[in-house]
């Protein structure tokens, strides 16, 4: 089968998922407050947001472990809110290690097939293939306590895929692992997900993880969807100030809004997107968009430098005490040690403005 026909077959088979005005309260806490979200067939969608914004709750609603107070969960256009968890066809990998301690790796993976009454020989064979797929072909007879954390999560992934689910749900599967394992496993999950073309929801509060893995990233805040867009768009054109500051680093520079232009750092730049009603605003800028040049009479000073490899991040304090972060290539930054007087400017491009923060 060629790649394109396979992709087509995958796209036809993969499921769509849709959350419609989902609401869920736990006592006084509102975990989900009218969440609307659509996941396209075969895509990997990352749910990103600060702790407690309802990411896990959304996932558990889809898996059938929670029930919404209001709203619908649609899979392939059909409301599944009444379907019990074990008939939802959703494979899930949990944040905590969730392998069955009394079963070997192979038997863990084969557990779902056993529930489907597949014969022993056949289900062990299929489980072995899946273990091979996650790179643990030789560890099948090990018990969970004999596997490392990363290996356990791989087995959990194989177990979640064993029943060929329509959607794959990953709830911070990498958060308990160390940085290096996290990186390799991240790539592996992505590769597998592409190969199988399975619609996937991936919860994380690590923005780098979300941006590097996902086809689209949904940023949540307090139980609602803030923005759902491809990583590059999310980073380059954040729809709201919250998204702008949550994804990547943003500096706030006070400016004065005048119609649709904003005066900042002695420059007049067009404002991008929606503008607040008040004239006193903050301009949001990414570190890589800030120009810094040495200037003897400049009233801004470099207060700190941090070496990041190819680039160096400068922290510049303005005369009024505002701090701005700027990324410069390391050889440019060599001339700008801490204490140097500098001048800061912005490129002539539309800028994002937000209400002044206090």
């Amino acid at each position: 089968m060629t790649a394109t026909t396979r992709d087509k077959a995958v796209a036809e088979k993969a499921a769509t998922v849709e959350f419609r005005r989902l609401r869920r309260e736990f006592g006084k806490t509102i975990a989900l407050d009218g969440l609307d979200l659509a996941v396209r067939p075969g895509e990997l969608l990352a749910l990103l947001g600060p702790s407690g914004c309802g990411k896990t709750t959304a996932l558990r609603l889809l898996a059938g472990f929670e029930h919404p107070d209001a709203g619908e969960v649609l899979v392939d256009g059909q409301d599944v809110t009444g379907v019990p968890a074990h008939r939802r066809d959703a494979g899930m990998v949990f944040q905590s290690y969730s392998l069955f301690p009394h079963l070997s790796a192979v038997d863990n993976v084969a557990f779902g097939l056993r529930m489907r009454k597949v014969r022993t020989a056949e289900r062990r064979a299929r489980a072995a293939v899946l273990l091979e797929l996650v790179g643990l072909g030789d560890k099948g007879e090990r018990f969970p306590h004999q596997l490392s954390g990363g290996q356990q999560q791989r087995v959990a992934l194989a177990r979640a895929l064993a029943l060929r689910p329509r959607v794959l749900l990953l709830d911070e599967p990498l958060s308990a692992l160390d940085a290096k394992v996290r990186l390799t496993l991240r790539e592996e999950i992505r590769r597998l997900q592409r190969e199988l073309g399975i619609t996937t929801l991936f919860v994380t509060h690590d923005q780098e993880e979300a941006l590097s893995m996902a086809d689209r990233v949904a940023v949540m805040r307090a139980g609602r969807l803030e923005q759902c867009a491809p990583p590059s768009e999310l980073y380059g054109r954040p729809a709201t100030a919250f998204v702008a500051e949550f994804v990547g680093t943003m500096s706030r520079i006070p400016g004065h809004l005048d119609g649709t232009t904003v005066e900042v750092l002695g420059q007049r730049l067009p404002a991008d997107g929606e503008v607040p009603a008040t004239p006193e605003v903050d301009v949001l800028v990414r570190p890589e968009a800030v120009h810094v040049a040495a200037e003897g009479q400049g009233d801004a000073r470099v207060v700190a430098t941090a070496f990041l490899g190819a680039t160096t991040r400068l922290t510049v304090r303005m005369a009024d005490g505002v701090e701005i972060k700027a990324d410069l290539s390391t050889h440019e930054a060599a001339a700008l040690a801490a204490g140097t007087a500098v001048r800061v400017s912005l490129p002539r491009r539309p800028v994002l403005v937000a209400e002044r923060a206090h």
């Binding site: 069955f100 557990f111 007879e141 029943l163 749900l169």
Partner: protein, 270 residues
């Protein structure tokens, strides 16, 4: 394992002496009859005594029924508690500890009163038959009821320790996302990981039932413990022989249970 330095040896030896000396003395007393040398008469006498086998069997049946009842009652209840209402745990904790503060003699007296009062007031209802049936001397179910209550504190502690060691909600959810229904999730994912706790519960219940005297005696039944006291009343040597024997029987049963549990554990661990 910790190294056994002289100090620890000393403690171990003292503890050993404390347990073994009385036991050895008892054994010597039963086999060394003055004027006859070493003889096992006392033991052969017990084995041939009237009611040995029947009372032992009755005790074993009662123990089996009690273990089954305790496990069937407590395991689902405690798993449900973990999953559904973790906040209720302190309440259940207190309720399950209550039998510890009610002396068995009070329990027996209370049950005796009810058993007497019940049939009088219910003689015209089908409940009368129930009262008769649970007091059937060949299998007094009423004792099982009493033993379940008395075993409750131990069973609760043992099961609680087992449940604490595993993450029940996550295991159940993992099983459910693998297509297991509720009962399947419990039987296939949770219970196998509670084997140690189930075994401990069975241990404690077995030991309790085999050694229980007060309630059985007061309600007028004759399981092993009661039979031992009845038999031993007449002869000093016999009475000691009987308690040595009952100790050995209990040990043998506990070892059998442990061996059974241990074997299946290693088998499943491959």
């Amino acid at each position: 394992m910790a190294r056994l330095n002289p100090w620890r040896w000393c403690v171990l030896a003292c503890a050993g002496l404390y347990f073994l000396v009385p036991l050895a003395a008892s054994v010597v007393f039963t086999v060394d009859v003055p004027g006859q040398g070493v003889t096992f008469d006392a033991y052969t006498h017990i084995l041939s005594a009237d009611g040995f086998l029947s009372s032992l069997l009755l005790s074993l049946e009662l123990a089996a029924a009690t273990i089954a009842a305790v496990l069937l009652l407590m395991v689902p209840a405690m798993v449900a508690l973990r999953l559904g209402a973790p906040k209720l745990r302190p309440v259940v904790d207190v309720v399950c500890s209550l039998p510890l503060v009610v002396p068995p003699i009070a329990l027996a007296a209370g049950m005796g009163t009810v058993l007497k009062w019940g049939p009088e007031h219910l003689s015209r209802t089908p409940l009368f038959q129930t009262f008769v049936a649970i007091q059937n001397p060949s299998f007094p179910f009423v004792l099982v009821l009493a033993y379940v209550v008395m075993a409750l504190p131990f069973a609760y502690r043992a099961l609680d320790a087992g449940l604490r060691a595993i993450d029940v909600p996550t295991l159940v959810e993992a099983a459910r996302s693998c297509g297991a229904s509720w009962p399947q999730a419990l039987v296939r994912a949770v219970l196998p990981n509670l084997r140690g706790a189930l075994l401990n519960t069975s241990f404690l219940t077995l030991a309790l039932v085999l050694g229980e005297f007060t309630v059985a005696q007061l309600l007028g039944f004759q399981p092993f413990a009661v039979w031992i006291v009845t038999v031993s009343g007449s002869q000093a040597q016999l009475s000691v022989a009987v308690s040595v024997l009952s100790l050995l029987v209990t040990w043998a049963l506990l070892l059998a249970l442990a061996g059974f549990g241990g074997r299946s554990r290693t088998a499943s661990r491959g």
